[in-house]
Symmetry: C2
């Protein structure tokens, strides 16, 4: 059984980091006889430049047929002044919604080798291991109506709609409860139910679901308090579940607690476990093309892909072990450099992982 992996390098540092991850995937493909075949496509600014759209039909077709997708990152100042419908981000959002990748899993893990990279005190973050489950195809990101209209007064008003149906809430809730069952059995649902009606429904459905998962302890937290608690005492959390917008904010905050966002992978899954895998960080246009970006988040995203979409746990673990080995060897890209580390380039880091495999 042959499986297809679609590589979408995207913009900024995307091509550099995806190139390293592809070499790693190719190596495990050989070593574990995974029978993977690789395709590649254009998305984001790269697609805009080549085909005048952030998500060409051809890319979407390939994505639909692929068993899994590895994406670098999209966006950059070059395309910042384009109208909303023509921005690189629309490519990413279009993939998420067309493939119904509603479940975004974002681990925030502190690697012991990188403990000192965090801006938080060691005792606050040592051993940190949180999983953020973010709803990814609904909420205010996709809500209608939206736009800018002219009011009777003659002035303009911008507007967006934040909406969730029971079905959307329930399906992401199940993913989160199941993730909690596999982990520390604690789930914190984050909302703003004291102000926003849509999150009152969110809370109600989470409470409903809770009865089906009696082994999971469910709590609720307002989003402002969650943003504080992540700074104050992040280890109180096991799994966090929240909507698209709050998840965007809190997962980035949580990732940064570890001090090594260049290390953190993510998975976006649909109900058939087809998935798109990306590093948590962005396209970092300021350092693009310099060969200094950290490829490890993308390499670890490839490992997540093997685990969640391709069922190749052994190959996933091999990659994760190789990453741990290079960290133990003291190899560090600039973003995670420490006084006692050896600074390496994007490619050297990729080669080191290959060698450790």
């Amino acid at each position: 059984m042959s499986r297809t992996v679609l590589m979408l390098p995207g913009d900024g540092i995307g091509p550099e980091i995806v190139a390293e991850a592809e070499k790693v995937l190719q190596k495990v493909n050989d070593r574990f006889a995974l029978n993977l075949s690789f395709e590649s496509g254009l998305v984001g600014g790269a697609a805009l430049d080549a085909a005048d759209t952030p998500l060409p039909e051809e890319t979407l077709d390939k994505a639909r047929k692929a068993d899994a997708i590895l994406l670098g990152a999209v966006g950059g100042p070059k395309w910042d002044s384009l109208p909303m419908s023509q921005r690189p981000e629309k490519g990413l959002l279009g993939l998420r919604s067309n493939l119904e990748l509603f479940a975004n899993l974002r681990p925030a893990i502190l690697y012991p080798q990188l403990a000192s990279a965090s801006s938080l005190k060691p005792e606050v973050v040592s051993g940190l291991n949180i999983m953020i489950v973010r709803e990814l195809t609904g909420g205010i990101y996709f809500g209608q109506p939206r736009g800018v209209r002219e009011l009777e007064s003659g002035e303009r008003q911008g507007y967006n709609t934040y909406a969730y149906t029971e079905t959307e809430i329930r399906r992401i809730g199940r993913v989160a409860f199941e993730a909690a069952q596999q982990r520390g059995k604690k789930l914190c649902s984050v909302d703003k139910a004291n102000v926003l009606e849509v999150t009152v429904l969110w809370r109600e459905i989470m409470n409903d679901l809770c009865r089906e998962y009696p082994d999971v302890e469910l709590s609720h937290m307002y989003v402002d308090n969650a943003a504080m608690q992540l700074v104050r005492a992040p280890k109180q959390f096991d799994v966090i579940v929240t909507g698209n917008m709050f998840g965007d904010i809190l997962s980035d905050e949580a990732a940064m607690l570890t001090g090594s966002i260049g290390m953190l992978p993510s998975a976006s899954l649909n109900s058939e476990k087809q998935g798109m895998y990306e590093p948590c960080h962005g396209s970092a246009p300021d350092i693009a093309g310099q060969g200094i970006a950290n490829p490890l988040a993308t390499i670890l995203s490839a490992a997540m892909m093997l685990r969640y979409s391709l069922g190749e746990e052994e190959a996933a673990e091999a990659i994760e072990a190789a990453v741990s080995t290079v960290l133990d060897q003291g190899l560090r890209t600039a973003d995670i450099m420490s006084p006692d580390g050896t600074q390496v380039s994007t490619r050297e880091m990729g080669e080191a992982v290959l060698a450790a495999l």
Copy 2:
């Protein structure tokens, strides 16, 4: 000229902390012959219990007539299961919108005496002094339509509307640019202009305004990145301006960076500089009635009131100096207690500030 200050203790620890702030206000009233008169009123859960509404007409009348308002906090588990329109928070939101208190100023300051209370490394936060300017009467907090509806499919959908007009954006923008002029002349506007149309308009208006404030350096940041940067390197910020929802999240995150949210005041002003002043922290129902809450954020809110709404800079500074003195004396409530501090109760802390005045 007599001025009226309305005291709204609210719920949880509200009455305890407002009582201490009122004593302090009374003392400066005498000492500086401010000719203040004090009234009090019910809001939030306290008003629900007494008058079946979170914002009685009587309170709203008093608030309209007052020159300034000092509010404790609202909310608590007792009222959590009430329908949205009947919740304590509606009292607070009703005051904000009825008085058009659109400009919420939330400083995040690290007190040198409390440097060790932060969960961040000392070098990351020492000297931290950020001002968050949050729009407070628009955005998704007040957007219409909102509610829960039944779809044709028979299932329910919750929905809210995130909207801003040019006028709303411009008036909060001006407050922020002026605040930046008084401070480090750097303003960072936070939005999600790569996804949300309403914030594309936000960004456009901020860019427009920028031309009128050539001495201020304006930058833009996506909200997810802002949540990260606050953790990574908070001292890069001077003034941050953002909408109601993002401001709720980021101001709480920023406040927690200091490790002493029990110390942070806030001001909510309208265009006549009438203002409502509150501590940044909440009603803390878990410790209510125990006499251990920290009254300093409320006392410092009273100082902000003297400065912004009553034009009594000297009295404001006297209070701030007194607070600094008690911190120097090592007096600490439980929330900011350190190994070398002397733990005191809410009342003892209030008395110490009075004595230092």
